[in-house]
């Protein structure tokens, strides 16, 4: 879908870390806004392209943001401008705004992980682990195999139990008890499945000394170029943060340092970093429509 499918997983990891670490560290809307914007633009573009935007997930994210915003002032009474008093505790404007920011930050982080999921093919991601800890990589692979299987089994068992009338007991206590035994049946099945899978692994020589791996990823010149761009932009961002250029205070009053030239550079660098997935998506779109027009 995007250029990233061909990139070395290390580059993607670098991008993810250099977007997420500064934004979580700085707690500044100057970084949160571009981070959120970058993720939303990319996911929206992808969603429109693949027609896979679900209203439910948009609603879910909005609800999450709203909850964090509304709840934060209940826990944090810092801030100097009370909007109202609940049980004698102030519900302040600063805490409300901080909640809004916190919600946005949370969304940004969640959405970036979602971006990462669509950007990196699964096997590439585990290649990184595979290098460091091959056993862990295999474990993750078997877990990834098992989870959808367990979900399907749960549906089947629930359907089977429904049709022998376990769940339509008029007594709610019996109903709950049945739900519990269904869970325990699933656990039994999982253990049984684990034994069978273990046998299948042993049958195919798992445990022999000197295991090797199929997957090899080459770190090419395009990877090097993209990685150096990412590192350069990150360096500018980190420098700005270290100099306190984007310092932002929420309590007791909202105060921001007036941006100097470095802060502007830092913001631009960070924004560019956040837009890399979207820009690469646009580039691919243009390239493919250009190719198609020649066909």
């Amino acid at each position: 879908m995007t250029i990233f499918h061909n990139r070395h997983p290390l580059v993607l990891l670098a991008l993810l870390l250099s977007v997420l670490l500064p934004v979580m560290f700085a707690q500044s809307p100057m970084l949160t806004a571009p981070a959120l914007l970058g993720a939303v633009l990319f996911l929206a573009a992808l969603g429109i392209r693949t027609r896979a935007v679900s209203l439910r997930s948009i609603f879910g994210y909005a609800l999450l943001w709203f909850l964090v915003t509304a709840v934060n002032p209940l826990f944090s009474t810092g801030g100097a401008t009370p909007l109202l008093f609940l049980n004698g505790r102030p519900y302040t404007k600063e805490a409300l705004l901080y909640g809004a920011h916190l919600g946005a930050l949370l969304l940004a982080v969640l959405l970036w992980f979602r971006c990462e999921r669509t950007l990196v093919p699964e096997e590439n991601r585990f290649f990184l682990f595979g290098r460091l800890a091959p056993k862990l990589a295999l474990l993750i692979s078997t877990v990834l195999r098992f989870v959808p299987l367990l979900r399907r089994r749960a549906t089947q068992v629930r359907a089977a139990q429904t049709a022998v009338g376990v769940y339509d007991d008029p007594d709610w206590l019996n109903r709950t008890r049945s739900q519990m035994t269904t869970m325990s049946a699933l656990t039994t099945w999982s253990l049984e499945h684990a034994i069978d899978t273990g046998a299948a692994m042993k049958a195919r020589g798992y445990g022999l000394p000197g295991r090797t791996t199929y997957r090899t990823c080459r770190f090419g010149s395009a990877d090097a170029a993209l990685l150096s761009i990412i590192l350069a932009l990150t360096a500018v961002t980190v420098l700005t943060l270290a100099r306190g250029g984007l310092h932002f205070d929420w309590y007791p009053y909202i105060t921001a340092t007036t941006p100097d030239r470095l802060a502007v550079c830092g913001t631009i660098a960070y924004t560019t970093l956040c837009l890399i997935p979207f820009l690469s998506f646009l580039k691919e779109e243009i390239r493919w429509s250009f190719y198609r027009s020649k066909m």
Binding site: S141, A163, V164, P170, A185, H193, K202, R211
Partner: protein
Amino acid sequence: MELLSVENVTFRYPKASVDALSNVSLSVSEGQWAVLCGLSGCGKSTLLRLIKREIAPYGEASGRIFLGYSAVRGAKNDPPLGDRESAENIGIVLQDPESQIVTDTVWHELAFGIENLGLPSDRIRRRVAEIAAFFGMEEWYHKKTYELSGGQKQLLNLASALVMNPRLLLLDEPTAQLDPIAAADFRNVLRRIRSELGVTILMAEHRLEDVLPDADRIFLMDSGRIAAGGDARALTSFFATNPHPMAQALPAATRVFLALSGGSVLIGGTDSAGDTASFDGTVPLTVSDGRKMLRTLVKQGPASASAGATSAEASETEKASASAEDSAAGKVAPEDSAAGKVALEVSGARFRYDRLLPDVLSGASLTLHAGEHYCLLGGNGSGKTTLLALAAGILSPYAGSVRLFGKKLSSFAPGTLYRGNLALLPQQPRDVFTEKTIREDLLKAFLRTAPDKAAAEADMLSLCERLRITGILDSHPYDVSGGELQKAALAKVLASRPKVLLLDEPTKGIDVRGKDELAEILDGLLAEGAAVLSVTHDAEWAAAHADRCGLLFDGEIISEAAPGGFFDGNAFYTTAANRMARGILPGVLTVSDIVRAVPEVTP
């Protein structure tokens, strides 16, 4: 040269009172396709697992097993087979496609075995590429393993075993969980493996009709012993003199041959010895062999015999068309038919799993009468199981309705629909069990309808006696054989005394004896006025036991008739006996039909 030799192997599971294998000896030559057949529980799987040392069962074993000159198990001075050699040289594919898959993607699954052997990356890639090309897997090479169909999963398991370049391939009922089309695909791949790669195959199987024509050697196992061994003809002659339940699992043509030669129509026939001589050495194994045999039989004899044949043919045709008319009439006005009142009615049901997905059912209608056994047939993914889920009230249609005794399923009060009205036996019988022993589980089910514990226990025991499963009541549901578990699940389903029983693939993975027992139980229920709707791929089963059959295709039931009219009208989706007798003996559905018809037309 013998590739595999098993010498005097005896095995006993811990705490068991009898040997699972006793003094088993057999040998398989390089490049042969050998089949181990026998009823479930005869020791086939145990033997295969002993040969594949990594997954050998725990227990007391004696005897020797050799792969070539190396001992899989043997005496002290036998050269042992190393762990690496065992992993590399012996591949195994088991019954359940799901539990043998280790990783999440197809490519990784293929690579897994050779990764374990520690080959360098480029060698691994080459082997994986080769095997993927051999199996034509390029299309689904990057898929997730959980997205595959059952048939694809089993092919993946086969490919993952073959990628190690094994000399011996062990297969434990590999097609038992597959539908007929996927099973045929699987067997085709096996044929290619044997002929193009020369891999030696040892396969445990209880459905002989599909493997007999390919097998070089067949071993019949019975309670842990080898009862007979040899090629298909030798086995057939063994069955001719020794009655054995496995004879029912032979191909239709062979069963006809056995039945007729037993009645000396074929072998040792008095007046037409010249004609039948061609059958003496060649036992028919396939439908085309069977057709040749029938043609010879029906055409032989003087003109009077052929006149007899035509008159028999005419009367059979009349009968068939009459029965077709009967069922057509039944379809138009089911209320007045003698079959009984309408028990379950699905009308114009439409269903899809997601708004964006296409319809699975697009206006399916079906009527089930009390006392009637309706078999719903259809290809893979035609929506059979979905229709059953709608009928059971697990899913609801977005248009159309499902009524039980004239009442919508949704208008049944909680706690009434699944008590005394409706029950479903799912495709995986283990899904209905949640307790540690079958007894606890059944007792709980009976307690929901019985007034007190003593009554529940008495009801349970009497049903279990009828189903002949009292012996397994204290076992864990995972520890009993497929057929036994099927019956135990049926007992649990019947605990609520349903008037309508829905069965999803009731004969899947069950041996011939299990099928007969199941049919007997269902006949008893039908006689008591219950209605049975079973979804099945098993045309033979439907032909023998259904009152009415329906074909589900493209989301609708496109034809519906009594088995006679239904199967006789189908060209492909029909029984082997019908395909064999098509155009020779009309109106024939089962082997016993042929056996009954043949003496009429021969002099």
